[in-house]
Symmetry: C2
Subunit: 614 residues, 2 copies
């Protein structure tokens, strides 16, 4: 039943040999990896406007320069990341670069930053998409969080658990629809801008006298705009998913993505300037632009709906980015091992589930209002950018070759520029949430290191010394005797059943009865004598009516007397009830005994299931 449901939802298991087929073409990869980056034009330019307009600085004079600065930044980051992807065909992006070239600490910093970025992306994108749906159907408002969770677990998680290929087929269509719509909007807008007269606005608002206090504000606007660049690194983390030749295909896809992103970003910024759009409550800047250009016709609704769709899809980028990163961390021992194993559909299913759960917790904790977490993205992303670029400089230098100097130069420029961006975001947005990231990253690094330490310790303890591999010494593992203890309440068929197993594993079996008063104790002894199952019965008296303590004491005493190679096995009969709630009708003594006895060396607790048939 469970298995059938599993097959239906996730599909049949895939054979190891089907691995090669699960690779992405460039066209599909572009849709999968870029929905995060591309969807950000829906809010990126607006984020800049919000800062400039809110502070009475008339915006249009400075939007242009800020947007151009971001375009330049995008260009630098793209060029740098093309080199990252080429040099790390194994995927893992910033983390891989850093672990190979810079050492543990910067690598873990990058991993922590990326972890924060990916989970935030899922939480924010899902709730932003639902928020768009809410504005269309306000009567759904009370169900906002449940809808978020259905989208997250019922759609995104499930599709990703089915596997990569399916996810790309599902997601290619909406992403390209969105891109197509925005291109149509931009081209129509440009045509109108060339042929029609711009709306007249007062001259004095076009530009303002420069003064130094404004520089902080403009930097903050720039920091806000950087949120448009999250997702650019996604491709370099997923290089192994591309069809061969993977590095080359990844490079080309990165170029395409950045080109489209840059064009849309600068285009929308231009139209905002041209139409003198100002931030307005409840209506996005993109919506205002679309309304000015198209009017309220179907083209306008087309833009709105594809925007909503692409916002949901942006969450999917993380599903393709984080699980491979987690698997690399797991293989290096910084995350639980099982995050590194491919599931039955050949994807990293545990990582997919972990990501969904963390994002789900964020959504529930913030009650679906995760929009103000947007600003937390950017700092994590740029920290990982900086580390990756720095790592690449070391990489080229170490590798040498003809062109190492210009290559290192490109990445050095990238490192310096993105490092400056980290400082700008960290300073201008410190009190707006950047501090959370700066606390979270050290916590994550500590966790990574503790996990690694545990695995290292364990490996030490599990190691079989060379002499034990010698067959002559292997004889040493022949054991001593095994004393079996069967706690009983009174002679029943369960006891008979348990004694039968007890005799099959040892010659030395003791039945143990804890009596709370002498009368009962004698009655049981008598019954036992009449039955005579060939096993001695020891009765312990417990006038304080404790059952577990006397048993533990008895076992402990026995454990002290036995030889170092001897075992004590305690057999606990357990009822396997036919209905789940029947279990509540039996006391949990077995479970408690098990928990307490498991702490003792060479004491084994075995549960003997007794199947109730009605």
């Amino acid at each position: 039943m469970m298995r059938l449901l599993r097959r239906l939802l996730i599909g049949k298991p895939l054979h190891n040999q089907e691995m090669a087929h699960e690779k992405l073409s460039k066209l599909k990869a572009l849709a999968i990896f870029s929905s995060d980056a591309l969807s950000s034009v829906a809010y990126g330019p607006e984020q800049i406007m919000i800062i400039l307009a809110a502070s009475q600085v008339m915006a249009y004079g400075y939007l242009g320069p800020v947007a151009l600065a971001i375009l330049v930044l995008l260009f630098i980051v793209t060029i740098s990341y093309v080199q990252v992807g080429k040099a790390n065909p194994g995927g893992g992006g910033s983390y891989s670069v850093a672990i190979h070239n810079l050492g543990e600490f910067p690598a873990l910093t990058a991993a922590a930053a990326l972890f924060a970025d990916y989970t935030l992306t899922v939480a924010v994108s899902v709730s932003a998409g639902t928020a768009a749906l809410m504005s269309a159907f306000p009567e759904l408002l009370p169900y906002e969080v449940p809808i978020d969770l259905v989208i997250l677990f019922g759609i995104l998680m499930l599709i990703n658990l089915r596997g990569i290929r399916e996810s790309s087929t599902t997601f290619v269509f909406p992403t390209y629809c969105f891109v197509f719509g925005i291109f149509a909007l931009l081209l129509t807008g440009f045509y109108q801008a060339l042929t029609q007269q711009a709306p007249v606005i007062p001259v004095e608002s076009l530009s303002k006298q420069w003064d130094w206090t404004m520089s902080f504000l403009i930097l903050r606007a720039f920091a806000n705009g950087c949120s448009s660049m999250t997702g650019v690194e996604a491709i370099s983390n997923g290089v192994p998913m591309f069809k061969a030749p993977a590095p080359r295909n990844a490079t080309i896809t990165t170029m395409w993505m950045s080109g489209i992103l840059g064009f849309m970003f600068i285009g929308i910024s231009f139209l905002i300037m041209h139409f003198h759009i100002l931030p307005q409550d409840g209506v996005t800047a993109l919506s205002q632009v679309a309304e000015d250009i198209f009017g309220r016709n179907w083209l306008y609704y087309y833009i709105q709906f594809t925007t909503m769709g692409v916002l949901y899809l942006a969450a999917n980028t993380s599903f393709n980015g984080l699980p491979p990163l987690l698997s690399i961390l797991a293989r290096d021992g910084y995350m639980p091992r099982y995050l590194g194993a491919r599931g039955e559909r050949l994807n990293f299913s545990n990582g997919i589930i972990l990501l969904s759960v963390v994002a789900g917790i964020l959504i529930v904790a913030f009650n679906g209002n995760t929009e103000h977490l947007i600003s937390l993205y950017a700092i994590g992303v740029f920290i990982s950018f900086t580390i990756a670029q720095t790592g690449m400089v070391v990489h080229w230098k170490r590798e040498g070759g003809h062109y190492w100097l210009p290559r290192a130069g490109i990445n050095a420029i990238g490192a310096v520029v993105t490092g400056i961006v980290v400082l700008i975001i960290g300073i201008t947005k410190f009190f707006y949430g950047a501090w959370i990231v700066l606390i979270f990253i050290p916590l994550m690094i500590t966790m990574f290191k503790k996990i690694r330490k545990h695995y290292d310790d364990m490996a030490d303890q599990l190691h079989l010394p060379m002499e034990e591999l010698n067959p002559a010494i292997a004889a040493k593992i022949f054991p001593g005797k095994n004393i079996v203890i069967v706690p009983i309440a009174s002679p029943t068929s369960v006891v008979a059943h348990t004694l039968k197993y007890a005799k099959s594993i040892s010659e030395e079996v003791i039945a143990l009865h804890i009596a709370t008063d002498e009368e009962t104790g004698q009655k049981i002894q008598e019954k036992w004598h009449n039955w005579n199952p060939g096993v001695q019965l020891i009765t312990l008296y417990s006038p304080y009516r404790l059952v577990i303590q006397p048993l533990i004491d008895y076992v402990s005493e026995l454990a002290e007397k036995k030889g170092p190679n001897d075992y004590i096995t305690v057999l606990i009969p357990e009822f396997e009830t036919r209905k789940w709630w029947h279990r509540l009708l039996h006391n949990q003594t077995g479970w408690i005994l098990r928990t307490l006895l498991i702490l003792k060396e060479n004491v084994i607790v075995t549960t003997i299931p007794f199947h109730l048939t009605k």
Copy 2:
């Protein structure tokens, strides 16, 4: 550590022989069992007024007759219950009477009604007490539910877990303080009524023309007033807690309780009439009476604070009433057996915990606003009254003797009167919550019966047939062989440790490796060959990377081939980690295997703990 905390909170375990000491004197029993009944004068008369006044019927003309009717009812119920206590020295009240005289169905109805009544009493009394505290300190308002839970779990549950004697000493003082305060209030009030002139009120409001539509209203007022009588049955449920001679002492205590209750009830009703008190929002009628008589001085505050105290204590009545009832139900097989066992302090600790948890859930579910559950009390209580009295009629008749007819007569009157009250409450308050009780009781009865059925079924299955008690046939339980399977990932010291135990319990040990690809499989075979631990290694290939399924399949196949008396034991090594979170770093394959394999007949799953030391 845990043990020390337990000793500190609950006290040292008590020996069986200390049982006799844990009995109550009359003075203590009165305080323990009567706080519920006595505290109800704080709202009982007011509940009548609310109905009469809210409906524009001027109240004073009918308050007197209604109060007198309730007094008569109290007298009848008390006399009847004195007989219940005498005839059932084992405690259990209505349930015991019904099971012995009327049969299963009425007995379970009474038990369900009492269960509802007791848990509601705890929830309502605790939140009413806290509400009183809130009116004094409104700044505590946001912490209402947490305070409720601290009182419930931190004080009431803990004191009751410590044991009966302690609880009486703790609770005697506040109950008597409350009684003393109310007596002082009443005597002062009576003196003033005799010596001073009553306030002048318009004559037409004193009485109204009778008309038939008013009768329903007056019956509803009467039904409301009946909430004052909850708790009267508490003593008859707790007869075994009294010092010897228990039945006689219980009778005397019941008389005293009813006398005090009746005096206070009628006294307060008289003063409400005399001072022409009308219901007022946020101020209780008792508070208005106290203010009129004492003015706002320390005597007024004394009344307020002792009222608050006694409301908290009322909850305690249930702690002394429900656990013994549950223990009787458990012994009869209608509730889980462990509710019938005396804990280390000789009380029914599991019942105390169950009551606290259910009341806690009610408080949290109603967010601390449980006052409107007050009306649910009365119907449950009167259902159990009616059943008990009917049962007593049968009891006297069956027992015969000289005075059986007058005795049966008293209980017959009780049965008829309380039966009429059930009808009155059920009809007049049906839409005000009585319907909930009428749904709850059948559900509870179904549950009782299902539990009983499970225990009966189990007894059938556990029964050892007579022939098995014959020593000659006992030899049959000598078993066949035991095949031990040890799943391994690679040869490590954990595997060595597990094989050692495997060899101690059987000659026939199989090591089983699930390889996800051929290369790894061959490498492990080679290592195993070099090590040569004297156990054969079987390698299964699983190209779909499933680990659990091939193992289950292998065991199932083996299980089909083995003899009917043979066993298969699967040994699963489990890491006992030093820190709890280390456990999260290991996969839970062992637990899943255990859950799946436990369903198979004669397959035993044993966990071999491997203690990690760092």
